[in-house]
């Protein structure tokens, strides 16, 4: 920045109370610092690598599992995991400061047929047809994966493409199929399916899944995740220390009632032995690499890795580098246990701060070295792939794994928890902008201004992180929900975001270092987002208007209501009825799936980490965690629902500009447009007219002109609020597997695209097949015409603490936030929105013209990242539906 200002001048006499002295002169566009050479190399290597699957782990896992026919499930599971880990081929790469990865490839992962095997057999086996009949494949069909980047979209040479994303060596395919077949009728999916059919109304559930009113079963697809990991036990005790705890407890409980505790301790011990072999195999590999290396610097780095891993295979860490390595080891270990999306490191900067401060005081670490390490950590987190079915990986996650790192918030005593290490975490996220770990800033008025402005600086580079989330709103939600399990405000402060935007309970654990005790935060609950996953509200409304039918396929989903819809209240009542029916049947079936998961394939690694499983001897499926009221109902398309109800109320009932029959016909005729499913354009602005579109012009305009959410229009906002209040309350009528009431969750992730794709036109004027509004309080693209402040006011028309989250995504043109002044004003805007009681906001600071160009020329934009519904992802790895939607999202642009 060039500073032309002469500071010696005195203030002009006409400055009034708002006029501060001008600082700084004409400013160039902000220039971003590059990452360290080491991190840049690692990132380049990552970007040139394709998602690679292998079968080592599932093969050895399955083999050991079969050997132990007749054993107790948790012991079979422990032994199978041990065998899987012990047989993973280590892969140490040059330049790495942090070693170890999921599988034997960079960007490697593997299928987990013990959860669900049907998907992997789909090409070879008639099972696929069976699966289709059960309604499971519909979500896969409605999803398009991103076509570029690291996705293996097509088979080529000896590499076979799985789900359009993962590449598998041809010779491994028969092993995969053979291994997968072993799980037929034994996987969590298959066993769960057998029992969920016993739920009354199960047929309705199948129809709900087939119509894609619900996106997927949470039980077997992603049984874990959307939670915050806890690194406390390995840091405090080391692996040998935890094994010792297991042995001691084993001796205490053997022969006493609640014998499951014995098997749990035994299982954890066994599993840890597997992890030790895995770590030592990497140590050996590092030694081997060192022996082959001529470059002295690289050689010594390999040897350092070898020594570090050997130490960590037994002992607790002594330094920042060791602690970070151990954190990484356990993060990967948990990810290798189940198909997991959204395992968040949580408040890592606060967990590691004692080590960092100690090393800085000793003079064995510098800020530069810290940033380099943190940058390398970013690349490692980005490397994580999640192998699940395409409906899940593409449709829900857009390939994202949601390793959400939180900064800020309050400490145990209620003071600002932001620290110097978190400033460096922000620095490294600016210099090394990778999608993972994405950042969330837990905003509180007590946080220092400089820290917040550093957060703004990071938001401004256009990566979309950090997301800004409201500490106080989260605490209110947590205390409402977890008070019964003993949570008080002190522990409510230990929360973090688990996954994309799930408020997750935490706890403070006493870490001892150099004779001092530090209370570090960490997750203290299992997955905080399991239960009823993604109900498409506009699709439920469609069924209301068409007497319980899925109009796209003509199939009956709900029992006919047979009511003549001659008042608005009747529509709203039947909507509530159908929605309740949906939640009821899905709660019951999902409870069974989760019960089966806990019985046949319980978590050992994650359970061991979560307070207080190790103390109680119970795993996370048996309420071993401190907090267990974590089942929820997730919805999608809430804004389109409110807009549609508003249009129905206004046009059909209040002003009677059209009859309901006319509106129904208009919906079936897609307001005179061709279907997006034929044209491939999913955003409202790119729709193609049919020959008779003129006949529908008036009706369509009336629907589009009806009051819309996001404009500070009381008419629409009242409808939105009524829905919100009813929804958050009705969730409590349903009980989780652990006999606790459910709570509401409102993140769309990427489901608004595939769910929109199977939904007819809606009364708000949205066309057939087009994507719904994203998030929970983002306006429908193009419908918010009164600017951001009107949107903020609409968004805060109800108490956000009623739900686990709310979500607002905004695209802002770089010109609005240019320069130092822009940063300050941007922060003021964010603060003002959160002060109004909003839970979350995140920003895409990009020019939509650039995004259009990126769509045309993906090769030129390999590194471009955008925010989509709760996370950051490379543009080229997004499906086209989401790309279209991001482009159409309202851009707030102000120019000089």
């Amino acid at each position: 920045m060039e500073n032309n200002h002469k500071s010696s001048e005195v203030l002009p006499d006409n400055y009034n109370y708002y006029g501060t002295r001008p600082q700084g002169g004409f400013q160039d566009r902000e220039v971003k610092k590059p990452p360290s050479i080491r991190a840049e190399k690692a990132r380049t290597m990552y970007l040139e690598t394709k998602s690679s699957a292998s079968v080592e782990f599932p093969y050895w896992y399955t083999r050991r599992w079969e050997e132990l026919e007749g054993e107790i499930p948790i012991i079979r599971r422990a032994e199978a995991l041990k065998s899987g880990f012990a047989h993973l081929t280590p892969a140490v790469l040059p330049g790495e400061l942090l070693a170890m990865r999921k599988a034997n490839y960079l960007r490697g992962s593997y299928p987990m047929p013990w959860l669900s095997e049907a998907f992997f057999l789909s090409k070879e086996d008639d099972l696929y047809k069976e699966a289709q009949k059960a309604g499971k494949a519909s979500a896969d069909e409605a999803t398009t994966m991103g076509q570029g980047g690291g996705n293996v979209t097509e088979s080529s040479g000896n590499v076979i493409s799985i789900a359009g994303k993962f590449g598998l060596r041809k010779e491994e395919m028969p092993i995969l199929i053979k291994t997968a077949k072993r799980w037929l009728n034994r996987s969590v999916d298959d066993v769960g399916h057998k029992y969920e059919q016993l739920v009354p109304g199960y047929d309705t559930k199948e129809e709900i899944m087939r119509a894609v009113i619900c996106m997927f079963d949470s039980g077997y697809t992603l049984p874990q995740g959307r939670e915050v990991i806890n690194y406390y036990y390995p840091l405090q005790y080391g692996i040998e220390g935890i094994k010792k705890i297991c042995r001691e407890n084993q001796a205490n409980v053997a022969g006493f009632p609640e014998m499951d505790r014995l098997y749990f301790y035994k299982g954890v011990h066994t599993m840890l032995e597997g992890l030790q072999t895995w770590i030592l195999n990497y140590s050996k590999e590092a030694h081997l690499m060192a022996s082959l290396e001529n470059d002295q610097v690289q050689k010594s780095e390999y040897l350092e890795i070898a020594d570090r891993l050997e130490r960590l295979s037994e002992s607790r860490p002594d330094t920042f580098h060791d602690a970070l390595q151990l954190v990484w080891i356990f993060h990967v270990a948990v990810l290798n246990e189940d198909a997991i999306s959204g395992l968040s490191p949580g408040r890592l900067g606060q967990v590691l701060y004692p080590y960092w401060k100690q090393d800085m005081n000793k003079g064995i670490l510098t800020r530069e070295k810290t940033i380099e390490l943190l940058e390398c950590m970013r690349v490692k987190f980005t490397e994580i792939d999640c192998f699940a079915s395409m409906g899940v990986v593409g449709g829900v996650l857009s390939g994202n794994t949601f390793n959400n790192l939180c900064i800020g918030g309050l400490d145990k005593e209620g003071n600002s928890a932001a620290n110097e290490l978190e400033m460096l975490i922000l620095e490294s996220a600016i210099s090394c902008d990778t999608p993972q770990p994405t950042l969330s800033l837990l905003f509180d008025e007590k946080l220092p201004e400089e820290f917040l402005l550093k957060g703004v600086e990071c938001t401004k580079i256009g990566t979309g992180y950090p997301a800004w989330v409201n500490n106080r709103v989260a605490m209110e939600f947590l205390l409402n929900n977890f008070r019964k399990e003993g949570m008080q405000s002190e522990e409510a402060r230990a929360w973090a975001i688990g996954g994309c935007l799930e408020t997750s309970p935490g706890s403070w654990m006493p870490l001892e270092l150099n004779g001092e005790t530090y209370f570090i935060p960490g997750g203290s609950a299992p997955a905080t987002s399991v239960g009823v996953h993604f109900i498409s509200l506009p699709k439920v409304l469609e069924a209301v208007l068409f007497d319980g039918l899925d109009k796209r396929t003509g199939r009956r989903v709900y029992p006919p209501h047979g009511v003549e819809l001659d008042t608005y209240e009747k529509i709203w009542t039947i909507f509530k009825h159908y929605f309740s029916l949906t939640v009821e049947v899905l709660t019951l079936t999902n409870n069974i799936q989760h019960d089966i998961w806990g019985k046949v394939s319980p978590s050992l690694i994650n359970s061991m980490l979560k307070p207080d499983c190790l103390a109680t001897g119970k795993d996370i499926s048996h309420k071993g965690s401190r907090y267990n009221r974590t089942f929820n109902v997730e919805i999608c398309g809430g804004v389109n629902l409110a807009n549609s109800l508003s249009s129905l109320k206004k046009n059909v009932f209040d002003e009677k500009t059209m009859t309901l029959d006319v509106l129904r016909t208009a919906i079936e005729s897609n307001f005179g447009y061709l279907s997006a499913l034929d044209t491939g354009a999913y955003s409202l602005t790119d729709q193609v007219k049919s020959a008779d579109y003129k006949a529908w012009l008036r009706i369509h305009k009336l629907c589009l002109d009806a009051p819309k959410y996001g404009n500070d229009d009381k008419y629409a906002d009242d409808i939105f609020r009524e829905w919100q209040l009813w929804f958050s309350k009705m969730c409590e009528n349903y009980k989780s597997l652990y006999d606790e009431p459910l709570y509401s969750c409102q993140i769309s992730v990427s489901t608004h695209a595939p769910m929109g794709a199977v939904t007819l036109a809606t009364p708000d004027g949205r066309l057939c097949g087009t994507t719904f509004a994203d998030g929970s309080v983002s306006a429908y693209p193009g419908s918010d015409k009164n600017g951001p402040y009107a949107l903020f006011n609409s968004a805060t028309c109800y108490n956000h603490a009623l739900s686990q989250n709310s979500q607002l995504n905004m695209k802002i043109h770089p010109s609005v936030v240019m320069g130092r002044e822009g940063s300050r004003k941007f922060l003021e805007m964010i603060k003002a929105y959160l002060r109004k009681g909003a839970f979350h906001a995140q920003f895409n600071i990009v020019d939509s013209r650039m995004l259009r160009d990126a769509q045309k020329n993906p090769a030129d934009y390999r590194g471009l990242m955008v925010r989509v519904a709760g996370f950051t992802q490379y543009w080229v790895e997004l499906g086209k539906q989401i790309q279209d939607e991001v482009i159409a999202r309202t851009e707030y642009e102000q120019l000089g």
């Binding site: 060039e2 032309n4 200002h5 002469k6 001048e9 002009p12 006409n14 400055y15 009034n16 708002y18 006029g19 501060t20 001008p22 600082q23 700084g24 002169g25 004409f26 400013q27 160039d28 003129k694 012009l697 008036r698 369509h700 305009k701 500070d712 009164n786 600017g787 951001p788 402040y789 009107a790 903020f792 006011n793 010109s815 609005v816 936030v817 240019m818 320069g819 130092r820 002044e821 822009g822 004003k825 922060l827 003021e828 805007m829 603060k831 003002a832 929105y833 109004k836 707030y892 102000q894 120019l895 000089g896």
Partner: protein, 314 residues
């Protein structure tokens, strides 16, 4: 004229309200665009705001030629020629009952400019106020905001009573009494200066600069808030050293030592098409960064703080 009433029952015409404005005064602000202007600058980026009440905006490419607007026209003024609408601006912009656009299903024909009461406008301001954060406020712009004097006065006074920071952006080409009426309720003035030469000024804006310069000199003495001179920089029109040096002399003379340069942009070009007017700014290039830095140095060398566009720190 006496405007010292405690009731705020005046109404006025706006053509836009923008929240989250960051370039027109301290903090995040709400920008209120008032209709009507006494100048007609060829580079104007808000040509729809020149007319005192309404402008009809017509997007040629969206028009289906259905003729709904023609049959709804109460003045018998609208015409379809070859399936496209012809808008006689002199009739339409002063039309008292425009409803021709109401049955336009493709939104090809829209009306810019609407009437609003002070009370309703203040409600919107209060809503926005929740989100300004530190140092926010209201900026009246346009058009020339002080042309609708009673309305501008009432809204500024209402804001002032509510402890809201108030600013205007004025072209200066209005009677002194208009300033006199509003300055007790004003914290901040952006005062536009287009050219120092009376003849060149008249050529480019339709009006000479004598009144403008007189008002500026008087404001410098009588206005207690912050007064910032803004120079829209139009290369080839007002960027000569001669003109800039006389701007500097003027600033010295009236005791001002800061200026805000607004570089020409052509973002308003499409609007001219939609108003069925010709855009005369095409031949003028957008100033380069180097050029702007040179100009900045020129001002700084004379002891005048010079800030470019949205970079002005407040």
């Amino acid at each position: 004229m006496t405007l010292k009433t405690n009731r705020y029952d005046s109404k006025g015409y706006l053509f836009d309200i923008q929240g989250l404005s960051v370039h027109d005064g301290p903090g995040c602000r709400t920008l209120i665009f008032l209709c009507g202007c006494t100048l007609n600058c060829f580079w104007c980026s808000n040509p729809e705001g020149i007319s005192p009440k309404h402008s009809l905006i017509y997007a040629n490419e969206k028009c289906l030629g259905c003729g709904n607007c023609v049959s709804l026209c109460t003045q018998n003024a609208l015409m379809l020629v070859d399936g496209k609408l012809k808008i006689p601006g002199e009739i339409c912009h002063t039309c008292d009952s425009p409803n021709c656009f109401t049955e336009c299903y493709t939104n090809a024909l829209r009306l810019s400019g609407y009437e609003i009461s002070v009370e309703k406008l203040y409600e919107i301001i209060q809503r926005d106020r929740q989100f300004w954060g530190l140092n926010g406020g209201v900026t009246l712009t346009g058009g020339e905001p002080l042309l609708q004097l009673e309305f501008a006065h009432d809204i500024l006074r209402r804001c002032h009573e509510g402890y809201i920071h108030t600013a205007i952006e004025t072209c200066g080409n209005i009677p002194w009494k208009n300033f006199q009426e509003v300055i007790p309720n004003l914290d901040w003035i952006f005062f536009d200066l287009k050219h120092m030469d009376n003849f060149r000024h008249k050529e480019a804006t339709g009006s000479g600069n004598l009144l403008i310069l007189e008002n500026l000199a008087r404001l410098s003495k009588e206005f207690q808030g912050r007064l910032i001179v803004r120079l829209p920089l139009i290369p080839g029109f007002n960027d000569s050293d001669e003109n800039l040096n006389s701007v500097i002399s003027l600033l010295k003379k009236i005791g001002r030592n800061e200026i805000n340069i607004l570089p020409l942009h052509h973002l308003g070009r499409e609007k001219y098409q939609m108003l069925q007017r010709d855009y005369q700014g095409n031949g003028y290039p957008i100033p380069s960064n180097e050029k702007l830095k040179d100009i900045q140095k020129l001002f700084e060398a004379s002891g005048v703080d010079c800030f470019i566009g949205g970079e002005t720190p407040f």
